[in-house]
Amino acid sequence: MSDRVLMKGNEAIGEAAVQAGCQCYFGYPITPQNELTAYMSKRMIEEGRVFIQSESEIAAINMCFGAAAVGMRTMTSSSGPGISLKQEGISYMAGAELPMFFVNVMRGGPGLGNIAPSQADYFQCTRGGGHGDYRTVVYAPSDVQELYDYTFLGFDTADRYRIPTMIAADGILGQMMEPLVLTEYKQPTDLPSKQPWQLGDPSTQEPIWMTSVHLGEGKLEAHNLKLQKKHDLIEANEVRYEETMLDDAEIVIVAYGTSARVAKAAMLKAREAGIKVGMFRPITLWPFPNPQLNALADRIDNFLTVEMSLGQMIEDVRLATCGKARIHLHGRTAGGVPVEDDIVDQLKKILASKGDEIIRNF
C-alpha cells in the first residue's frame, strides 16, 4: 500500500483524465467541482495539452464538440445548473456520434439550490436531459479510487461506442480525500490509435460531413435506429454493479455513490442487529443492471432504494424488478445525506410491515 497518495475526488478524476490521454479539457467553474477545473488548468498546460476556461458551460460543451470532431480525447465537467446548460450540446454530440467524457459533481437543486451534495440529477443523467432519442453511458463510482478508475473506462467506452459517457458523482465524492493508487492507463487494444472520423486530417481523401442533422425522408429515423442498436449493444455489454452479502439476504438495499457507502455502513449495523440485509450497487446507472436485479427479485421480496433524491433511481429499480417485489424508498434531497440509523430503522419497519404497503421515509 506504499504507493498510495491522498487525493481529493475531483483531483483524482483530473489526474486520471491526464493519464488517460485527455487532449482537450474545456470547463467553467462551479462548486462543488472547482478543484477539477483548477487541477486541469494546471496539469493540462504542464503537459502541453489544451485547457480553456470557456466563457460559459455552453461554450465548453461546444468546444468539446469541435475538439472531438478533430479526433481529440475530450472532456468537460460541471455541476447541476451547468450540466443543464450543456443538454443541447450533449444531445448534439450523441446525435453526431462523437465521443466525449464528462462529469457532473451533483449539488442541491432545483435552481441555484445550494452547493451541498446531491444525487438529484439522476433523471437528467440517465434519461438524457436533452431532446430526442439518445442515451449517455453513466458511471456512478463510490470512492476516490473508483473515480480514478472509471475515468479511464469513461474515455474508453466513449471512444469504443462513439458516445458521450459521464461520471455522476455527488458533491461528497468530489470533495472527499482518500488514499488512491495511481495505476497506469493502458489503452485497450481494440481502440484505434487514430479516430476514423476526425476532420481536418490531410491524409483522409474524401471530405467528411459531421453532423447531427439528417433531413430527407426517413434518414434521421434510420440514423436513430442505428443509434438504438448501439444502445442495445451497450445494454448487453457494459452493465456494471457490485453485490454485497446477498447470499442469505432477505431484504436488499439498492444504492449508488455516497448513498451506497452510507447504506453499506447501515447494512453492517443492521446485520449486527440480526437483520439479513444485503446490498446491490449499480455502478452503471445507464445501462442499468436490469437483468441482475430482476433475477434477484425472484427470491427477494423487499428492496430499499437509498438515494440522495426524492425518488428517481427507484423508478429504474421498479422497472428492473417488474412488480416482483416491493420497492421502498429512502430519499434525501438537497444536501441531506442519509443517516445510518435512519436506514436501519426503515429496514426494520419494512420487515415488520405487511401486504403491499410501500414505505418511504418522507
Binding site: V50, I52, A59, G66, A69, G71, E88, P207, M210
Partner: protein
C-alpha cells in the same frame, strides 16, 4: 489559346444549391471555395455550417464540413483549432446565428483571438426559419415577428457587428463588404483573402461580414432585393475595413 478565366472552383462540389434564386449565400460559398483553392487548403480546411439556410454547406463545399449548434460555431471552431492547430477553420454564420444566440461565443472567440476566419452573412433576417426579425433587421423593416416593421424602442437597434468587436485586442481583421456589385464582390474576396492569410499566420481572429440579399424573406424579386440592399442596408451597414492588424491599427493575439 483560349483560357477559362472563370469556372467552378475545385473546392466546390458540382451540386446545385437549394438556395432561393438570388440568395447571397451562393456567392459567399463560392468566394470561400475559390480561396481554399488558391491557398491550397482543401486537405486541411474544415468548414463550419451553422444553423441557418447554410446548414447544408457540406453539400456544396468540397472539403470537411461540420454542423454546429445554433450560434455555437465559434466555440466549435475554437475546439477544433485548439485541438488541431494545423487545421484551417472557416466559421460560416448567419446574422441570427452570430449576433443573437451566438453573441457570447462570438465575442469571446474574438477576445481570445482564436486563429480562425469567420464569414458572416448578414441578410437582416432569419432566412431558414421563414423570415423572423434578426438582430440586424433594419428599423422599419417588417418581418414575421415584427409585422409592422422593427421598432427601436421595443426591439432595439440593428447591431453593427464589425463596429462592436473591432477594438477587442484578439481581432486581427474586421471588414464589411457586400455582394451587390461585381466590384463589391471582389472586395469581399480581398477581405476573405486577408482573413485567410491572418489565420495561416496565426495573427488572431478575422471577421468578414457580407451584406447579402434574402429575396424570399424580404418578399422581393432578386433584383429588387439588390436595389433595396443598396438603398437601405448599406446606409446602416457602412462598407469598409474596421480593423486590420497589419495596417497599424492593432490586432492580433
Amino acid at each position: 489559346m483560349e483560357q477559362q478565366v472563370f469556372g467552378m472552383p475545385k473546392a466546390m462540389k458540382p451540386e446545385q444549391t437549394l438556395y432561393c434564386p438570388g440568395c447571397g449565400h451562393g456567392v459567399a460559398h463560392r468566394l470561400v471555395a475559390e480561396l481554399v483553392d488558391e491557398f491550397g487548403l482543401r486537405d486541411r480546411a474544415i468548414g463550419i455550417a451553422p444553423v441557418g439556410c447554410s446548414v447544408f454547406a457540406d453539400k456544396y463545399w468540397n472539403f470537411d464540413v461540420i454542423s454546429a449548434a445554433h450560434g455555437r460555431a465559434p466555440a466549435v471552431a475554437t475546439g477544433m483549432k485548439r485541438g488541431r492547430p494545423d487545421s484551417f477553420v472557416i466559421c460560416y454564420q448567419g446574422d441570427g446565428d452570430l449576433a443573437a444566440i451566438g453573441t457570447a461565443e462570438t465575442i469571446h472567440a474574438a477576445n481570445r483571438g482564436e486563429h480562425f476566419v469567420t464569414i458572416f452573412v448578414n441578410n437582416a433576417i432569419y432566412g431558414m426559419t421563414g423570415g423572423q426579425m434578426a438582430p440586424t433587421t433594419l428599423i422599419g423593416q417588417p418581418s414575421q415577428t415584427c409585422q409592422l416593421g422593427r421598432d427601436a424602442a421595443m426591439m432595439g437597434h440593428p447591431i453593427r457587428v464589425c463596429e462592436l468587436i473591432k477594438d477587442l485586442p484578439g481581432v486581427a481583421f474586421a471588414a464589411r463588404g457586400s455582394v451587390d456589385t461585381p466590384k463589391n464582390v471582389l472586395t469581399v474576396k480581398k477581405h476573405i483573402k486577408k482573413g485567410f492569410q491572418n489565420s495561416i499566420d496565426g495573427k488572431g481572429w478575422s471577421l468578414i461580414e457580407i451584406v447579402s440579399p434574402c429575396p424570399t424573406n424580404w418578399g422581393m424579386t432578386p433584383r429588387k432585393a439588390l436595389t433595396w440592399l443598396r438603398e437601405n442596408m448599406l446606409e446602416h451597414y457602412e462598407l469598409g475595413v474596421f480593423r486590420d492588424c497589419d495596417a497599424g491599427n492593432g490586432g492580433g493575439a
